[in-house]
Subunit: 112 residues, 2 copies
DNA sequence: TGACATACTTAGAATATCTAGGTAATATAT
DNA sequence: ATATATTACCTAGATATTCTAAGTATGTCA
């Protein structure tokens, strides 16, 4: 999958997942992989920095916990700010995909 | 409109336009602006380098001509390689948007 | 014991876009 | 006549982002 395409939708997908429940990073990678039928396969080096950035922006918050398996995990939760951002990004996503379709389809209207 | 989103679809949109007919750079900006109802407003500094890159990759070729208005224009035409690439990018675009929908929608299947 | 999956991290390379400026001609409004 | 806006192209450098690649550590299975 082309990297250019993924870029703009990563945060949208992460926020959408985290609105359902809290996830830890590694779990997110696997979940997105499954849901997309392996179309999206995030590398750890790609995803973790994105989560860190989102946390620094206040879109998510995290806490550490040791799982029954003995491994330490960092769980991420969406914040109020994150939910607001999610709504915005969903809107943008819709406007974006509709607009691309229009350009490909050939429709044409004058701009205000 | 978020820059991240646009990135991956720029070449797709350009190739799609150029399959219809030849365009010059400035005309492409206006055409995409109109078709998208002003959702996409490419800056010249953004579009021209993309066209140059596409030409260096052999996806398009160009020639210069002076319009009746007295202004010199650089017209771009899609190449055979560009048409092949267009087909690929269309496929990728579909796979991409479907996958994002799946992630947002919550569907989940095991990967092979 | 060795290989693999889990789980997180970061530094630096590579890539891409945008900002901001430049050039130059014509058209339009004052 | 002059100022401004539109048309039409270009590029250097700042900015941002992603990916590559490596490191750390634990548990499981053959």
């Amino acid at each position: 999958m082309d990297k250019g395409l993924i870029g703009g939708s990563t945060v949208l997908m992460l926020l959408s997942l985290l609105q359902e429940k809290e996830y830890y990073g590694y779990e997110i990678i696997k979940e997105i992989e499954q849901r997309s039928n392996c179309i999206f396969q995030f590398k750890e080096g790609t995803l973790y920095p994105v989560l860190h950035r989102m946390e620094s922006q206040g879109l998510v918050k995290s806490y550490k916990a040791t799982a029954e398996t003995g491994k330490e995990r960092k769980y991420y939760q969406i914040t109020v700010k994150g939910k607001t951002q999610l709504a915005k990004e969903k809107e943008q996503w819709n406007a974006f995909t509709i607009s691309v379709k229009k350009v490909l389809g050939g429709a044409g209207y004058a701009c205000p």
